[in-house]
């Protein structure tokens, strides 16, 4: 039976809310299929506002992969802002998709992509508005399967009670696997009801169904064990790894928003994974190994993606884009192909070396060179060794000198505060570094109008990293160090006005820490905070630290655990971690040895990048049956390959963009 659109009920609310266009859909490249022509239906949910969720690469990829399948329908849904939430509750309008305004509760699967833990309360809002019981245990065969993915889902335990299933790792093949299982279950007359479907998914070994596992606790609050509570469920669940990115050239034609969003560009992932081994970086640990997309595929994707969207900017995405084996050829050839067409190219430039500047120069040919960004992460050389970010002060000064000399006027430097073993002096070293950067820039250019911005936030230890055992730094310590740093930067008369200072307060990081390394008991904290009004916790204008502290005190009262227990406490080797049964392929002993090496009294050890120094010690490739996939291919792009014909090239008008 067709499902009715909720648009007639929604439309009268739209004149009453901010930015109503975000709720209406109808974008170029959006897909609306007939409900009855399909038998497996996905609602893809990004738990943040449309302006943040629409450009999300993961959702864009899965939306296309699913909609290309016959008989499968995928629509998008986003978090509604509190003004709309109030009206929807008043008028009884349920959570809806923007594509055909169908009620989310009518779909087979609600797929949720978590880039950050601060979206957890937005999941509860969406479930509640959709009329789906918050607790997995209360749902029936009439409700969608609520399934999470994304980086934050590598420890889904704090939201395990609210989820039916979790997929770790790359989603492209996983959503097709799930689709087949859902289809088979529906065709067979839904044997076993809801549990029957979940059991079928769990039996694949690569879909985690939290409620098929029991967690036992020890008297001191630590986890004793996480064990399957039924037959046919694996003791640990493995992540998915997509091999051969050239065979999966998505997104081909992403949705072009009518509303303004945070990134307005066509993005192509030039490789997935990173093996630089930065010890704080969860993304670099859970996405191993490195898998490159070839220059030829990248060229084709850019050409058809730009033509299909009309975007004027192309983003070359990855965790460290300058590390592609043919990045120079990609940058030069694309810049050649698009010269004179008003198409800008950008890549997230975070590696600190002069080559990165050369690349940025190439990408900004003919354009304004406003700002370049580098991420040394640690202020002192000692600190950078602890996090395995091997950048010397000479490297940094040489890099910024090159940047200022080739016309860049502003350099942004990213740092973290509260790293393991950090002392006040390590953070204060950032001020010296920034001054040396300005001095070098003034000397290289003979100008005084160059600038340097220091951007710094609190470090949050993440699961599946060497720092997963670390004590998170207390927010008052972080704040005190940030204040001292700010004062040191401002106090200097010769440099102060050339240095900008941006920072994130410590307290929100503590809540992020609770949600990152929490276990199932944290669900009650999330629920309490949400019931008290927590929404859009990633937005400073909505986040309330006091609300979360109060929620933790209420929900954890009388237990042997607390907000501090989850965050500022260091863990031992022997402690069972909430995510130990979720397998990212990383060898636990390798992670532990790397952690001990990081904080060794005699100084931190260095881990090399396995792209250039073959090494299987992290364990991912042997455990997952994967291999590094890198070039070089030796291919080049010519405009006749990139463009179908000369005419098309002539018609593509180019905006050179600076690095971000």
């Amino acid at each position: 039976m067709p499902v009715q659109s909720v648009y007639p009920a929604l439309e009268p609310l739209l004149p009453l809310v901010r930015k109503p266009v975000q709720y209406v859909g109808g974008e170029v490249n959006s897909t609306v299929k007939q409900w009855d022509d399909t038998d497996v239906r996905w609602a893809l949910f990004y738990p943040d506002a449309y302006e943040v969720g629409l450009p999300n690469q993961g959702i864009a990829i899965l939306y296309e992969v699913l909609n290309e399948q016959p008989g499968v329908l995928a629509e998008r849904t986003y978090s509604v802002w509190p003004d709309m939430e109030r009206l929807m509750r008043d008028r009884g309008v349920p959570q809806f998709t923007v594509d055909a305004h169908r009620p989310v509760g009518a779909f087979d699967v609600l797929g949720v992509s978590f880039s950050t833990e601060l979206g957890y309360t937005n999941l509860l809002t969406a479930l509640d508005l959709a009329g789906i019981p918050l607790l997995s245990a209360r749902r029936t065969a009439a409700h969608p399967v609520v399934m999470a993915g994304g980086h934050a889902a590598f420890n889904p335990e704090p939201i395990a009670d609210f989820l039916d299933a979790v997929v770790l790792g790359d989603g492209e093949e996983a959503v097709l696997l799930v689709t087949e299982r859902v289809r088979a279950w529906k065709l067979a007359g839904r044997p076993g009801g809801r549990d029957g479907l979940l059991a079928s998914l769990a039996a694949t070994g690569s879909v985690y169904v939290p409620r098929f596992y029991d967690v036992r606790y020890l008297a001191d609050g630590q986890i004793d064990a996480v064990v399957p509570n039924r037959a046919g469920v694996p003791a640990s669940v493995r992540k998915h790894t997509l091999l051969d990115l050239d065979a999966w050239p998505y997104p081909k034609a992403p949705v072009v928003p009518v509303a303004e969003t945070v990134h307005e560009r066509y993005s192509v992932e030039i490789f997935r994974g990173c093996t630089r081994g930065c010890r704080f970086c969860q993304a670099g640990m859970i996405t191993r190994p490195v898998r490159e997309r070839s220059i030829t595929t990248i060229g084709k994707m850019v050409a058809s993606g730009v033509a299909a969207t009309g975007f004027t900017e192309v983003g070359l995405l990855s965790l460290s884009s300058a590390d592609h084996s043919e990045i120079n050829e990609i940058a030069v050839d694309l810049a050649d192909c698009y010269e004179g067409t008003n198409t800008g190219l950008s890549l997230p430039s975070t590696r600190v070396d002069a080559f990165n500047v050369t690349l940025a120069d190439e990408l900004s040919r003919n354009g304004r060179r406003s700002g370049l960004t580098f991420a040394p992460e640690g202020g002192s050389e000692r600190m950078r060794k602890v996090i395995n970010k091997m950048v010397t002060e000479e490297d940094l000064i040489r890099t910024v000198t090159t940047a200022y000399s080739s016309g860049w006027r502003q350099v942004k430097l990213y740092f973290m505060c509260g790293l393991p073993t950090e002392e006040d002096a390590d953070v204060l070293a950032i001020a010296d570094l920034a001054k040396k950067v300005i001095a070098a820039g003034r000397q290289a250019t003979g100008r005084r109008d160059i600038r340097c911005t220091v951007s710094i936030g609190g470090f949050v230890p993440k699961p599946h990293t060497p720092f997963q055992w670390a004590a998170q730094c207390a927010p008052d310590v972080v704040d005190a160090r940030l204040r001292t740093l700010g004062a040191a930067l401002r106090a200097d008369r010769a440099y102060g006005k050339s240095i900008g200072f941006r920072y994130h307060d410590g307290p929100p990081s503590l809540i992020e820490g609770l949600l990152s390394r929490g276990d199932r008991r944290v669900a009650q904290v999330i629920l309490a905070a949400w019931e008290d009004g927590a929404r859009f916790d990633g937005w400073s204008e909505y986040f309330s630290f006091d609300r979360w502290v109060a929620a933790a005190e209420r929900a954890l009262a009388g237990q042997s655990v607390s907000l501090e227990w989850y965050t500022t406490r260091e863990r031992d080797y022997g402690e069972a971690l909430p995510w130990d049964h979720l397998d990212a392929g990383l060898d636990r002993d390798w992670l532990w040895d790397d952690w001990r090496s990081a904080v060794a009294p005699e100084g931190a050890g260095e881990v090399e990048d396995c792209r250039w120094t073959p090494c299987y010690e992290c364990g991912v490739c042997p455990a997952m049956g994967t291999e590094i996939q890198t070039g070089p291919t030796g291919e080049r792009l010519e405009s006749r390959q990139v463009f179908a014909d000369r005419e098309e090239r002539r018609l593509l008008p180019v905006l050179a963009s600076g690095g971000r």
């Binding site: 009453l16 266009v21 170029v28 072009v256 509303a259 009309g310 304004r368 098309e648 002539r650 008008p653």
Partner: protein, 257 residues
């Protein structure tokens, strides 16, 4: 009000120019096209900035040889004029395109309609002298459907409004509270049944309002504010407003530009 996006350089405040562009000079415009388009259905909720972005991308997707401004951040030469407010539909929006080679107007219309989102629909494309000065668009005719209101309740309110010399109203804008005289902008208001496909039900009353474009701009919702203040008439749901025509004021109403 003319909103033109032919900004020369959107340089950030603290980033001085680092040199001059060393690319080729932009190709000159050889053809100007006046585009009449509609903002319909769900797209009535697009703001004029949303519509501008949609056109810039649509022009690229359609492969039209749009002219660009010179400078570090070249902008496509599209001039917009007096866009209908967010939430208000329109059958008579206008913009002007500058092209670097000559194109058949009807073919441009077809290509744009394929490339634009449904609801931002090109109605007509015509050769034009170029530019879109405010002097060409001085008045509009609006259809306003008033959900839940009958002709009997609206008619007297409108007669009282028309009998006034001034009808001061206030509206909160991005720049703060603005005061304006709703009466002075109104040429005629015709109260009628809700015919045509502009939303609402057959029982709803509808207004046809001919208004001059003024500074500050008086909008149809300002007239509704005045009607409400005069006689308390309040629709049961937000009114559905559509611009039917835009141009200059002639003997028998609004004349297309």
């Amino acid at each position: 009000m003319i909103v033109s996006n032919s900004v020369v350089d959107g340089a950030e405040g603290t980033s001085p120019r680092s040199g001059t562009p060393n690319g080729d000079k932009p190709l000159p415009a050889v053809q100007h096209l006046l585009v009449r388009y509609a903002k319909r259905g769900k797209m009535r909720f697009a703001s004029h900035r949303d519509v501008a972005r949609a056109f810039e991308r649509g022009v690229r997707r359609a492969g039209l040889p749009i002219a660009h401004s010179a400078g570090f951040t070249p902008h496509p030469k599209i001039s917009y004029a007096g866009g209908a407010p967010t939430g208000v539909a329109s059958e008579a929006e206008y913009l002007s395109l500058a092209l670097t080679s000559r194109n058949d107007a009807a073919a441009v219309r077809e290509r744009l309609n394929v490339a634009l989102p449904d609801g931002i629909d090109v109605i007509d494309v015509a050769e034009d002298a170029g530019g879109l000065p405010a002097s060409r668009l001085t008045a509009s005719e609006w259809q306003v459907v008033l959900p839940g209101l009958s002709l009997d309740s609206v008619g007297p309110a409108v007669r009282r409004f028309l009998a006034l010399e001034h009808a001061p109203v206030e509206r909160l804008t991005n720049k703060g509270m603005r005061r304006m005289d709703a009466r002075s902008a109104v040429v005629t208001i015709d109260v009628r049944g809700n015919v045509g496909d502009y939303g609402g039900t057959d029982d709803d009353a509808a207004l046809r309002i001919v208004m001059r474009h003024t500074v500050p701009a008086v909008r149809p919702d300002d007239v509704l504010t005045a009607l409400h203040e005069i006689s308390g008439v309040t629709p049961t749901a937000p009114p559905l407003m559509t611009r039917l025509a835009q141009g200059s004021l002639g003997e028998s109403g609004v004349v297309d530009p």
